[in-house]
Symmetry: C2
Subunit: 198 residues, 2 copies
């Protein structure tokens, strides 16, 4: 049998990461085990572990991919708009849309990972913390520009705007995932609009 | 050796449940295993499992205790106030205070359990769903009374008020637990006040 080419190896690695993201989204990152992925993908355990070396490396690869997806789905549509209030509104719309469309089958991957790892220490926790902190700061930065431009009241605290947007997204995620509440999307839209009304 | 009295058995059971709640709050309900609790409490596995029968029964007992604590910390202070807006404000204050004081070492137990189990099926998921649904309906009921009394604008949707309060609590929980952000308490207080301003 000929040895796999580098392209084959990259494709296999990508397939493992995609499956790890799906499993983690529904069952948590701790559900991502070498044995589970080997079964799901009909591969040997050695084949799965080969590209990563450890369960933690596999969790980190899944997390990295989830951050990439969030960036593509939520951040990029915002970056296409003018900075300040237009961009904040685009971020809010894309964030709600990302949750409404169940981009991850188990709801927001980063929210689940945050809840799962916030009480621990280690690289997985640090990556989640950094990713969500970066997002928070991006929102705060745009809010500051909106205030400077006079599109939000002078006395608005930019961090309060980011916090309110986060609240709307988290309430939507829980209402959809736990209660299967389809009307939550409209509630989140109204709450997001209110967060951006200053 | 004399056999344990019924009182001893109840005390042992309570100690196991308390430890299960602590472990689950930090590591998730899946972290609550018979072996882990036996080690932590210096008991035999048979001694731990004896009072419960299965890991799931132990998880359900921990969940029931967590709901009891939430009721004591958040619901009871509200029930002491007049219904409608005064009670909603008391609920909001107690909810934030419960998160600020880290009543559970790993943050809101029900939020963690929701995130951990929302993608699954079974009795643990059902109990979390029911408990949070009951809370949501209690908030909606008080909001409806506040609207009827003219303490919130006529055109307010009671479910929007409950949704906004949930958002403030979830944003506080994530900001404290993941980012260790001490200023989040004040942000949550402002956001909760806004949710109750109609």
């Amino acid at each position: 049998m000929p040895r796999s080419s580098a392209a084959d190896a990259a494709r296999t690695r990508a397939a493992i990461v995609e499956r790890a993201v799906e499993v983690a989204s529904v069952e948590g990152l701790e559900g991502v085990t070498i044995g589970r992925l080997a079964r799901d993908l009909d591969m040997s355990k050695a084949g799965v572990v080969g590209g990563f070396g450890s369960k933690e490396a596999l969790q980190l690869a899944a997390l990295e991919r989830a951050v990439e997806i969030f960036r593509h789905e939520v951040v990029d549509p915002g970056l296409a708009e003018a900075e300040g209030l237009p961009r904040l509104r685009a971020y809010g719309d894309a964030w709600i849309d990302y949750l409404r469309r169940d981009v991850f089958p188990g709801g927001c991957f980063l929210t689940s990972a945050s809840s799962e790892f916030d009480g621990r220490s280690g690289p997985v926790r640090d990556v989640v913390d950094d990713a969500l902190d970066l997002w928070r700061r991006a929102l705060e930065g745009e809010a500051a520009i909106a205030i400077e431009a006079g599109d939000l009241p002078r006395d608005t605290d930019p961090a309060d705007v980011a916090f309110a947007m986060l609240g709307a997204a988290l309430a939507l995620n829980q209402s959809r995932q736990l209660h299967r509440d389809r009307r939550a999307t409209d509630r989140a839209r109204r709450l997001m609009a209110r967060a951006l009304a200053g």
